[in-house]
Symmetry: D2
Subunit: 121 residues, 4 copies
């Protein structure tokens, strides 16, 4: 995640926000954020949101996610906000909204639902 | 996709293969391919597979995809193979398998199912 | 939906609630609502939520949905609440929560994300 | 599943086939199989396919599934064929194809990808 230039900007129990500033390396041919970058921060935001409800010694792995691309991710910034829907002993389910910010205005550009598994060490 | 270093290595009607050589920029902390890179080539392989059944002037956009991460994507190469399951007038559905290749041995590391939409120009 | 015994109990722009009273015909071997019944009312709740934002002459069809089963659906009633996340010209995306109600207490038992298409007549 | 009238018609290691004859109780207003019935047999076919690779004393639970509806499910019979994609110690992933059979001709009407969990007793 760090390799993309993303930063963790808010962490609360069951919630997480990640911000990714635009850079040409993240874009597709038309100057928008690439779907891969959007998927990456969605996946990470859900993963960190899940991890806030686990023990520090646990590891969290993504089992699967489903991502709807809703609008072109155009702007100077992408923000992924993850929220835990249910935290079980083994599996956690999160939902994630991803917004593109252009001239300061947020537009919802992707919506995801994700399953994660806790690995105890 | 090109920015990741991926190459289109096979294109047949309704099918597509994409290869992505390992590089440190694509890895997570433990030296495996990052899930974002795996998601990107899965998305692209399904998209190109769909596009092979459209008109050259059409555009294809990903509506959504669902990706199961099955095993750590460890190795010198990742290969995504996309196949169209159904091509409709407006919507196309594809399935994609992603393999990690370590010392020449392929291991299935992700499985996806994807919906795409055709935009006529 | 009617054949299951489900009723539409709330319809607002972009929102819909469906209630399904428990009956033995809807249960699996252990007396809970069957996953198929939960999936059915989730699918219908998202579909009606989407339809509230369309023209009366339009038809709405489910393209796909993804459903996480979060807890056993145990109780006298199941309630599905659908909400539109994005309504586009052709495609609409909805999220649906399904609750099981036992002795009057609601428990979230399923979470879905769905894509729908508008067919103009 | 039995309550729908479905029958298990083939079980091999990692594979399962379920057949559901048409009946008016399974139909939507236009005489096709209802999406809920299609989802039910898809879910069951993946679950039984997963169970063939477990111990007889294990239980298998659906974590989540994603279902694309590809064509109207019209005909005298619906057939769901599930196949395990990966069987792990805890989680199993399956893919399922559902066909509608009209006058003996099979048409692919739905495609699913599913995650299951093994509960040891």
């Amino acid at each position: 995640m760090g390799s993309l230039g993303a930063r963790l900007t808010r962490v609360e129990p069951g919630e997480c926000e990640i911000r990714l500033p635009y850079s040409p390396a993240l874009s597709q041919q038309d100057g928008f954020f690439h779907a891969g970058a959007i998927g990456s921060i969605a996946d990470s935001a859900g993963g960190y949101a899940a991890f806030t409800l686990m023990d520090a010694s646990d590891r969290v792995l993504t089992v699967e996610y489903k991502l709807n691309l809703l609008a072109p991710a155009r702007g100077e910034l992408a923000i992924a906000r993850g929220q835990v829907v249910r935290a079980g002993r083994t599996l956690t389910v999160a939902r994630i909204d991803v917004f593109a910010v252009a001239s300061g205005v947020e537009t919802l550009c992707a919506a995801a639902q994700q399953t994660l598994i806790r690995r105890r060490s």
